[in-house]
């Protein structure tokens, strides 16, 4: 079974009526890293929000077509249920950090699943170590740098152990050491069968992707092997995707 199935997805924000996604169809398999590329405003983040169920459950609007994660129809299940399948790290991590310490932030979701305290402690310990957060484990997330906030948000999401991850520009504000660390972690998670969608602008950050989806003005204009698309400089230049 494909981990993600998107079929003929269209989406309009309300009340503006702006059509953001136009007949998007693709599938992503278990253990696949799929990157989503395109100019600002082309619908990349909106697509990510559809996978996590934030659209249509929180943001409303008009969604047609099908979005399935692990066989579950997104529009028929609430966000709490979907969070067990899809871990979503937002472009702006401040929208998902709200607890007084980094440790609390990572423990929050496992606590809400009523996991045994020793399992919660283990997951927090693992995340803190894996993401290199031990120096700031007691820090207030609001007082961290942008890159550190993204690491904490990622830790909080990974602590739920979802099978699908959607990462919206998490590496944009990270230093090169943190970027490398995240890429290594994602490659490792792929080995465990996780399906990962990364939304990024920097071609360098896409080096771990198996496939790339290119969006233009809400439409999927190319879906292919990452190595082919990254090598197609003429296409990337035409799409204004090269710096």
């Amino acid at each position: 079974m494909d981990a993600v199935v998107v079929d003929n997805l269209c989406y309009k924000y309300q009340p503006s009526g702006r059509q953001i996604l136009k007949n998007i169809s693709f599938k992503a398999g278990q253990g696949e890293i799929v990157a989503v590329l395109g100019l600002s405003g082309c619908g990349k983040s909106t697509l990510g929000l559809c996978l996590g169920g934030i659209i249509p459950h929180y943001l409303g609007g008009e969604l047609t077509g099908r979005v399935q994660v692990h066989g579950i129809e997104v529009k028929d299940h609430n966000v709490a249920r979907l969070a067990l399948e899809v871990g979503l790290v937002f472009q702006d991590p401040e929208t998902q950090l709200f607890l007084p310490t980094v440790e609390d932030e990572i423990a929050f979701a496992p606590e809400n699943l009523c996991l045994p305290p020793e399992e919660i402690g283990k997951r927090v310990y693992d995340m803190i170590n894996m993401l290199g957060l031990s120096d700031i484990r007691q820090a207030n997330p609001n007082q961290l740098s942008g890159g550190q906030k993204h690491l904490v948000a990622l830790g909080a999401v990974l602590a739920l152990e979802p099978g699908i991850l959607v990462l919206d520009e998490v590496m944009a504000q990270m230093d090169s050491t943190s970027k490398k660390k995240i890429k290594d972690i994602l490659v490792n998670l792929r080995l465990y069968g996780k399906t990962i969608l990364i939304i990024e602008h920097e071609l360098e950050s896409l080096s771990i992707a198996d496939r790339i989806l290119v969006l233009e003005d809400g439409a999927l204009i190319r879906d292919g092997q990452a190595s082919e698309i990254v090598a197609d400089e003429e296409f990337l230049a035409r799409q204004k995707l090269m710096f």
């Binding site: 600002s40 472009q91 401040e94 740098s145 942008g146 602008h201 710096f243």
Partner: protein, 222 residues
């Protein structure tokens, strides 16, 4: 005399034990493009907020044209230094994109015709004309960042401080921004860019300051 001088500046956030910046001595001119780099949490954003008077040093002094920032109001400082936050949501508050850009210009006392002309030019340059009447918070993150940058650039401050300006910008918009910064620098104004985007700063910066564990480890001099 430098435009901004930081003299023995140290800072830690209230209620926190960790000192973010230690004994910084630095001069910033309102000419050229200065890049501030360093790993996450090294104190870059804190440094930028000290330059603006948004934060006040725990010890030491920050001077703007020889005058201590503590003797100036934020609007007085804001007329000389433009600041684009790392998170554009922090500075966007008007009902439409057009109003967001005209807000600062109106406060500078420009005539309605001048405001209109400048707003039109900047909307065109940053390709935001189609969103002129859109509610800014309905834009994508990249579009919001372009708007936040455009609104500050329209004011033509003596020094522009941009915190991670390329995060969320696609490569094409990064080049547009860089080209605009070159124009600003050519008109004898200064730019400070805080960024991890080495490709971008390598192309546009003329001076590099690197922070490590709250200290300047490179670029202390001019």
């Amino acid at each position: 005399m430098a435009f901004i001088d930081l003299i023995n500046v140290s800072y830690k956030y209230p209620g926190q034990q960790r000192t973010i910046l230690h004994d910084i001595n630095l001069s910033i001119w309102n000419r050229g493009c200065t890049a501030v780099t360093g790993s996450n949490g090294s104190g870059k954003t804190t440094l930028s907020k000290l330059l603006l008077g948004i934060l006040t040093p725990v010890t030491g002094l920050v001077k703007l044209n020889g005058q201590p920032l503590t003797s100036m109001t934020l609007p007085q400082i804001g007329r000389r230094i433009g600041y684009v936050f790392q998170n554009p949501d922090r500075q966007i508050f008007c009902a439409t994109v057009e109003e967001e850009i005209s807000f600062g210009l109106q406060n500078q006392g420009l005539s309605p015709d001048q405001v209109l002309q400048k707003v039109k030019a900047i909307l065109d340059y940053f390709e935001l004309t189609r969103y002129a009447h859109t509610f800014p918070l309905a834009l994508s993150a990249g579009e919001k960042r372009r708007l936040a940058i455009a609104a500050v650039l329209a004011l033509e401050p003596d020094l522009l401080v941009l915190d991670e300006p390329t995060a969320g910008l696609d490569p094409y918009r990064k080049r547009l921004l860089g080209d605009y910064l070159e124009k600003i620098i050519a008109s004898h104004k200064g730019v400070v860019i805080i960024s991890h985007d080495h490709q971008f700063i390598a192309r546009y910066a003329t001076r590099f300051i690197r922070l490590k564990n709250g200290q300047v480890v490179e670029g202390q001099g001019a």
